[in-house]
Symmetry: C2
Subunit: 409 residues, 2 copies
């Protein structure tokens, strides 16, 4: 007997028929003798529909009220799931964030989990009851409802797995695992049977389709094995853990990419300490996530400073950057909302030179201009014009030999 | 400056456009210098839609999970309303039952309010913030989400009015007041400018279209004036209060009716103490509301015992009554799900004889058979075949002279 968290995403509980199907998958796990805690997202497009209603009422809905609104979605899915499980003859009970007491900080719309109380869930498990917990939501010190941001239910799942000492956190979704790249773009893409937390983090843009990045960080921090699995419960999926790579591990395990990027460049920044901070601080105070940051070497006492942000926050980032530019006597602020990012990822990269060389060679051969580069120990990312994205990903996937059936790491 | 509770029903917040219109009505009241607390039902048919989903998952969804599910509806309306009010430049904040702390007993689906904590709402009002409170929902001692039953938001409104010492609880709805009878059935029906709590209770079936009966009881108990008003905020509506009737008050102030009735008759009940209890106890333990109860005088040591129940609980009531009949050695259990109730109501009835006489005379003239009768100080109710309902109501409305424009009580 082991203990599992089973987290179903929105597409896996999109209709009452989906809810019933998911309940059967849970029931099978439970009847195999395991303890199961279910975590759910809102049904299908509920969150988007609620958001559309909010925007019909207010162009800039207050974050507190938006959290109140959006968190209603999971309340629907968990109660229906509890009913469906009971219909299958199992004991089950739904729980909201404030009932479990999933405590978060008070940053509405992007709250972070501070603590999970386990008393009620342990009591349920001891009594043979399957707790069905609303993902995505928590409560702050003041009793205010908070939400964890897009895909936050993954984080809820991992946090519960950590708090309850679960064997694995199963992420049940509409794909059967993590692939070397998006199979919709590269049909030769292969399922990875294992990846490390580090690789998964760097494969963010691939993984974001199946798993929220913060959930992976959380899982790594608390060493919670996470398995991405098809929502039928069939197959092995992809296990994400701290497993050491084989000696024979391939250099590159996957090609990640992201379309929804925008680039902001502030020119003629006086090369003084604190100017970088002055720019980024405004942007990050608005809770805009800055991804790549590049600054060239100073020339005549001034530098150009570039960074990338999610595309839907481009306008706001430009506005804030213009204000910062005025404050620090910098020059013009330039931007492009039509860029995309490609990342080549692999733990094997640490001990192998030449990955960057191959990458630039392939892109140059295809006539793709690189606008920005950033590197980490196990990843090289480039920002390119969006229209070249497919060409770039396919060329790199082939160049790094990812088309053969294989086991990663 | 006075303090008002403004409760909007589901049809008054059915779409985001309705929410914005309702917000304007609230804003006008607030700008007139009043303190306002808003209470909302779920948007339009949300509750029915959620219920349909529950029934698609489970034929008999557990009450606890149903409460969890249904209470999500008000969470949506209150957050959207808070956004809409802020969009109009007002301070506003949405509150759920567990946040206000609207404490109830633990009878899921039909919970009763035990206590309302006012700290957070008073703090909002002091700070010029308009609290927007989710109706229909509360929380029990164990932190479980409870709901107050159909139309429970009215009760929430009245309970808040009582706890906060509001001037009036305004019930904003899609009709402009309480009428002498349903204007859809009798076009000559007149709006009552005032009625007493007692009359309103007895006009339940009329009033239930605009106001939950339990809310009226609650309002009478705590002497909270309730005003039924059109959701445009225009007009005077109908004030429900303890106002003493004028000496010249009409004998009858309204004709109420209800289609959704069913009759259960248990024949050959041995005339022994406790048998009535044995029957009704089973039915009321299932939380089925028994309305009219009639027992004839004993004949040869046995009696027939009849009562009426809401039609949607007819099958269950028949089942329970058959079990009771077996237990107490009674005879056959008969029933009819196709009956309706007509009630003639008026505080003036107390001092006027002859209302019953007129009532039976009118019904007999129209050839309408009376199946059951029950009387109270200010009401006479009859159960008749449903097909005669319209005929009966129109005839009585005319016979009691309710077609002239008038002020009631």
């Amino acid at each position: 007997m082991a203990r599992y968290i089973m987290k179903f995403g929105g597409s896996s509980v999109a209709t009452v028929e989906h809810v019933r199907a998911a309940a059967s998958v849970v029931a099978r796990k439970h009847r195999d003798g395991h303890e199961v805690v279910v975590v759910l997202s809102a049904m299908g497009d509920t969150t988007d529909e609620l958001l559309a209603r909010a925007l019909a009422v207010s162009a800039r809905p207050p974050a507190r009220e938006l959290d109140m609104l959006l968190s209603s979605g999971e309340q629907v899915s968990v109660s229906l799931m509890a009913m469906a499980l009971r219909e299958l003859g199992l004991s089950a009970r739904s729980w909201l964030g404030h009932q479990v007491r999933i405590l978060t900080d008070n940053v509405h719309a992007k709250a972070r989990i501070a603590e999970v109380e386990t008393g009620r869930l342990e009591a349920d498990l001891s009594a043979g009851v399957i707790p069905v917990v609303a993902g995505f939501q928590g409560i702050d010190d003041a009793g205010e409802v908070t939400t964890l941001g897009r895909g936050g239910s993954d984080t809820t799942g991992v946090a519960l797995a950590a708090a309850l000492g679960a064997e694995e956190c199963l992420i049940l979704t509409d794909v059967d695992g993590v692939y070397t790249t998006d199979p919709r773009m590269v049909p030769q893409a292969q399922r990875l049977s294992r990846v490390t937390f580090e690789e998964m983090l760097e494969l963010a843009s691939l993984g974001s389709r199946v798993l929220q990045i913060r959930a992976v960080q959380f899982a790594g921090k608390y060493n919670v094995p996470v398995r991405v699995l098809h929502n039928s419960g069939e197959g092995e999926g992809t296990l994400i853990s701290y497993e050491e790579p084989d000696v024979e591990a391939p250099v590159v395990s996957g090609i990640a990419f992201s379309r929804d990027e925008a680039q902001v460049t502030i020119t003629g920044v006086p090369d003084r300490p604190g100017n970088g901070y002055a720019i980024l601080n405004r942007v990050s105070e608005a809770h805009i996530v800055v991804d790549m940051i590049v600054m060239n070497a100073p020339r005549s006492g001034i530098v150009d400073f570039s960074f990338s942000v999610p595309r839907d926050e481009y306008e706001q980032a430009m506005e804030l950057t213009r204000a910062a530019a005025a404050e620090i006597d910098a020059g013009e602020v330039l931007g492009s909302p039509n860029v995309a990012k490609i990342s080549v990822v692999g733990v094997g990269m640490r001990s192998h030179a030449g990955v960057a060389t191959t990458m630039f060679e392939v892109l140059a051969r295809e006539g793709i201009n690189v606008r920005m580069v950033s590197t980490s120990e196990i990843k090289i990312s480039v920002l390119i014009e969006e229209k070249y994205l497919e060409l770039g990903v396919r060329s790199l996937h082939e160049a790094f030999g990812l088309e053969q059936a294989r086991e990663a790491t």
